[in-house]
């Protein structure tokens, strides 16, 4: 039964194949633009987010410098019943290092939600070069873990990241910092800690993060060197950076760890909320443009079907006279609309993939992004699926009203009109 309706729909379509083609091209164009736009926009989103997010811990465990919440007077039995006002509370010079790191590592190793972790020492230092003293910070890292979790290796543009581990007392400088210090690989720079310790470190590499401000002040060394520099023991750590399997669990896990380890824990969503907002807005814009394109294509289909109905009044009338119901006629026109949608949509995603591949191969070199060689594209299958679904929904909507009109055509008026 529906085979017959499909055959009739096919014949009607082929009888007007030029208009059909134009309508299908409209859909193809919108879907391909939609897919390309989304892929490109999201490629850019991923790139920009990656600049920060890939190099940021999902949960950062640390000890914040802040006044103690438990003031002595509140613990005293004598004043327990009163409300105690204390003015001018100052942060004490309590240690910034994390307590009980061994136990923390053990917990992290056994937590299935965790992809990995990297310990870190963060310290403010002066780089002295001749008479010059430049403020900056030095990060003691475990190169292997840092490379694995935060792609540290990719951002080392000169020298080798692993030398940080192999060469004792070595340092990797940010590009801007290296230029300021006029330090090349193999040179020795003098590091002055805030405590007054002085230490010469050998430059083994230069890194470029893509964020210029960061490159002007940052430098990396191994954890052991950092501990030596700070004059601390070998269990001194200021940060533990945790990477999760599911980034969305970060706020929950951060809260849990803060309580469990009795320290501060910050999740990535709180630390970088502005990036989330930017990505969301860009995604909304690309969807909006895509939907507008599809609506325009939908009007095209609507017009063509309307014309087809006026042209095929006689056909509709005789189909109804010989026993096809209004529903059958409606189905025929819906089939026409949907087949335009299916073919237009299929070619649309094929062309969309083509355009994406072309964009993906256009060279895109920028000094601030050393790892990027071409324009970024995100080939997520979701966009293609959404594209197909959108094309079907729009063409169905565009076909629905003309089809309903056709189903309501009164055969008597047509036949008697002759």
């Amino acid at each position: 039964m529906s085979n017959l309706l499909i055959k009739i729909a096919k014949e009607l379509l082929l009888a007007r194949w030029r208009q059909t083609l134009v309508a299908a091209i409209g859909v193809t164009f919108s879907i391909s633009m939609f897919v390309t736009l989304l892929s490109f926009m999201n490629g850019l989103n991923d790139l920009l987010d990656g600049l920060i997010l890939n190099r940021t811990a999902h949960v950062r465990i640390y000890n914040e410098v802040k006044p103690s919440k438990k003031q002595v007077i509140n613990l005293s039995n004598q004043y327990k019943d009163g409300y105690n006002f204390i003015n001018s509370i100052k942060s004490s010079s309590s240690r910034q290092s994390i307590y009980n790191t061994v136990a923390i590592f053990e917990t992290l190793n056994n937590d299935p939600r965790i992809l990995g972790y990297a310990p870190k020492i963060n310290a403010q230092v002066f780089f002295t070069y001749g008479t010059l003293a430049i403020t900056g910070s030095i990060n003691g890292i475990e190169v292997a873990a840092e490379s694995k979790l935060f792609s540290f290796k990719d951002y080392v543009t000169a020298g080798k990241a692993i030398d940080l581990k192999n060469v004792p007392n070595s340092i990797i400088l940010g590009k801007g910092l290296a230029e300021k210090l006029m330090a090349n690989i193999g040179d020795v720079v003098q590091i002055n800690t805030t405590d007054g310790n002085l230490m010469p470190l050998k430059v083994v590499g230069v890194f470029q993060s893509g964020l210029k401000d960061l490159d002007l002040v940052q430098s990396y060394t191994s954890i052991a060197t950092a501990q030596k520099l700070m004059g601390k023991s070998n269990n001194y750590l200021t940060d533990i950076q945790v990477k999760l399997k599911d980034i969305n669990q970060a706020p929950k896990i951060a809260k849990e760890y803060a309580l469990l380890f009795d320290c501060d824990a910050e999740d990535i969503q709180t630390a970088n909320s502005q990036f989330e907002t930017g990505s969301t807005v860009r995604t909304i814009i690309s969807y909006a443009v895509g939907v507008v394109l599809l609506i325009v294509a939908g009007f095209g289909i609507f017009n063509i079907l309307n014309m087809l109905i006026y042209e095929k009044m006689d056909t509709i009338a005789i189909l109804k006279a010989t026993g096809f119901s209004g529903m059958d006629v409606k189905k025929i026109f819906i089939y026409i609309a949907l087949s335009i949608g299916i073919f237009g949509g299929l070619f649309g995603i094929i062309f969309g993939l083509g355009f994406s591949v072309i964009i993906d191969n256009i060279p895109f070199n920028t000094p601030s992004l050393p790892t990027i060689k071409t324009f970024p594209i995100n080939y997520k299958s979701t966009y293609y699926i959404i594209g197909i679904i959108f094309s079907l929904v729009t063409t169905y909507m565009a076909g629905f009203f003309p089809a309903r009109k056709a189903s309501k055509i009164d055969p008597v008026t047509i036949i008697r009109g002759k």
């Binding site: 017959l4 009739i8 014949e11 009338a317 006279a321 010989t322 529903m327 008597v412 036949i415 008697r416």
Partner: protein, 226 residues
């Protein structure tokens, strides 16, 4: 031979726009199996309007219409479509063949819609009807490659495909020259006499009507003679 196929009881129809005009009133008659009935009357007397009511395509009327003993009132649009498909064959003044399809496909369409026989059987039956009407040679031509008389014969074949209880014709010879009119009339006559096909033909051609077995004459929306 006395089985009643179609019966109209007190059918009335008016147009309400802009003023009430009565087009049909007190139409009551029956058609028995095998009858060759013609409806005649002057232009505007309501004979075509009556035909479209009897054909179930026009549903805005008062009175009762029975086809094959079933009351047509209160049937849904899709149910009426099934009645038309199964019980009624149409021949119009204009042939209404679909140019997208070839001749045999045009004849097959209502048969495929009925879905009673397989596609091969419907095709076989369509071919037989075309042979009976002497146009089997044209079966695989496109509908618009045929002459006027041939087209009308194809539309008669189409009306026969589901072995309808009754064939209704609205001026089926109105657009044809004398020679083709005669051919079409002879076909109807043969259908009635040889195959005992019931026919109800609206015409203003007196000579056509004179040769049918029963004449219903209408004037001003009423039956004045039957």
């Amino acid at each position: 031979m006395s089985e009643i196929i179609l019966s109209a009881k007190d059918i009335q129809k008016s147009f309400h726009d802009p003023v009430d005009v009565k087009i049909l009133s007190d139409i009551t008659f029956e058609i028995k199996k095998g009858e060759f009935v013609s409806v005649i009357g002057k232009s505007g007397c309501g004979k075509s309007t009556l035909l479209y009511i009897l054909s179930t395509m026009d549903t805005e009327y008062q009175g009762d219409l029975f086809i094959n003993g079933q009351l047509m009132r209160n049937k849904k649009e899709s149910e009426l479509a099934i009645v038309r498909n199964q019980y009624i064959g149409f021949v119009f003044q204009f042939h209404y063949l679909l140019n997208e399809f070839n001749v045999i496909e045009n004849v097959m369409l209502p048969g495929l819609k009925l879905n009673k026989y397989s596609r091969e059987e419907v095709e076989h039956r369509a071919m037989e009807k075309l042979k009976m009407l002497g146009i089997a040679n044209e079966a695989f031509k496109k509908a618009n490659q045929l002459s006027g008389g041939q087209k009308q014969r194809v539309s008669i074949a189409r009306s026969l495909i589901n072995d309808p209880l009754i064939i209704m014709g609205d001026e089926p010879t109105g657009n044809l020259d004398n020679k083709n009119s005669l051919i079409v009339f002879d076909i109807f006559k043969e259908l009635a006499e040889v195959y005992h096909q019931t026919l109800l033909i609206v015409t203003h051609d007196q000579s056509f009507a004179a040769n049918t077995s029963r004449i219903i004459e209408m004037e001003d929306g009423r039956i004045i003679r039957q």
